[in-house]
Amino acid sequence: MDAMSWIAVAIFAATIIAVIINVFDGTVAALIGVVAMIWVGVMTEMEAFAMVDWNVMAILVSVWIIASYFGKTGIPSWLAVQALKLSGGRAGLLVIILATLAGVISLFVDNVVVILMMAPVALPLARALKIPVTPLILMIGFASNFMGSAMLLGDLPPQMLHSVAGAEFMDFFYHSGRMSSFPILMITFAITLGAMYIYGFRSHRRRTEVDIANLGVEARIPNPLFATIVVAWFLMTVLGMAFRQVLGVQLGFIAMTGAISLVLLLELLGERTNAPDFEEVLTELDWRAVFFYIALFALVGSLEKVHILEMLADRFRPLFEQSYMLGASLLYWVTVPIVGIVEHDAYILTFLHTIKDLDNNVSPHWPLWWMLLWAGTLGSNLTVAGAPALYAALNICQGEEERKISLREFLSWSIPFVVVSTIVCYLLGMVIWVIPFAG
């Protein structure tokens, strides 16, 4: 390794440590890392710009814009009331239904947005059914973080897989002649929720009569025209992304077209939809996350440029060549605890590139990419450090309960969730993906 490589590694490591220990803002730390890489000459400013996958950034911002409108349609509140009716007033069942709902919404919507969308409607339901707030909100957090990687839209890691490996929208359902992320994570999700019900909620089986009118949650959708347009645009955008190869344009462009045309339509319809101002929607976007992801692409790109990731791949190559199954298992089980304590996006992006540098004929990439994606997502539910959605969930719990939530209390819910989900997903991943490619 030459001096420049060592400098790049040192800056990258210092940046990640600064992000983890959170002494100052993580986004600022990541951007400073990029600036440092440029000033010391690891890359030029134009190279840094080119290393950012602007297609992914376009998907991210565009889907967030549509999701932001979706959050204001009243549909989440309406769905929560339907969940209450479906549960028949059984608190334990309601927790599972709300977690499922959060998981389904997070297929399309950013995880933190799902938490902020669901918590205001889940809290009155928790009060009405006398369910402890913390496990309910944490379950919603785990579920939304979990399902974000099932499809291309819900979270950054699957979008990074699109960026690095070229995974298309439909590849998340079926790939290489076998089921992939969506079905595998759906099965894992169902089993995990079942296990969590038995673990922590089965004793809440008693029916409680709830007066929905006095619940404090809107049981109807305030403006059906607004809600219909947003949902229709959302679905059309998703459909457009599913047929990207037919349309022959980038996913980011399809998402951006969906978002911009939705904004235009709502502006044209004016007061008839009672939609929020575009400026309000823009203000509410998580710009810190956007800039963090931009910086992340440039940081990992700089490691790629000085061939660090290639060297890392060289170190791992013998392991995968010796035993592909053992290598895949190690990749999975080493990833789970690491992403539980460090920011998982940087880790996943680094190792997506590292896997790409392995010889595809000897160590097929796709099983490893999927195993990394799943381990990286499911493991990040372990602590709040692993996923921003859980940080948001924890803050809501602490605010509502007016007390600090201890690590012990958090772990008593997160560990069973992570253990069950990672074991189930590992078994499915090995049987469906790794073993068939190991021969």
Partner: protein, 147 residues
């Protein structure tokens, strides 16, 4: 002199001694006492310090904690009643007893905290530290540590 003495208990033998002494002090100086028990959260796992030692459905765990809370606070009420000291008992839920003690002391306008020297032993004491030490470090009102 002191008007309202906060006496936290964790149900230990040391706390029992502190309750007895704290109530006696209150009787002598004509103060009232506020009894406090900081109840752990009702998680499915039951912990001893930081080590999970068992499993219980949260409902049953909550019921167990409720009974323990009632038992520990009754000890303070009984001691106060026997001494003819005015007493109010409160319980709060949380895994940070020192924070809760300081918060309740402020909320109930207590002017003295009277507590046992330590309750934890072994690994828990090493990792979690002494709640008494934390109260001593952060309290804005006098703290009397009973040994």
């Amino acid at each position: 002199m002191y008007k309202n003495i906060l006496i936290p208990t964790d149900g230990s033998k040391l706390s029992a001694g502190a309750i007895k002494a704290g109530v006696s002090l209150a009787r002598v100086i004509g103060a009232g006492v506020t009894g406090l028990f900081v109840a752990p959260t009702a998680t499915p796992l039951i912990y001893e310090g930081i080590i999970p030692v068992g499993y219980m459905p949260p409902d049953e765990h909550a019921e167990m904690i409720r009974k323990a809370t009632a038992r520990h606070l009754a000890a303070i009420e009984k001691a106060a009643q026997e001494a003819g000291v005015q007493c109010e008992c409160v319980s709060v839920t949380g895994d940070f007893p020192a924070d809760a003690i300081l918060k309740v002391a402020e909320k109930k306008k207590c002017d003295l905290i009277f507590m046992a020297s330590h309750g934890r032993k072994g690994v828990s004491a090493l990792l979690l530290g002494s709640e008494t030490q934390k109260v001593l470090a952060h309290s804005k009102i006098p703290v009397l540590v009973h040994r």
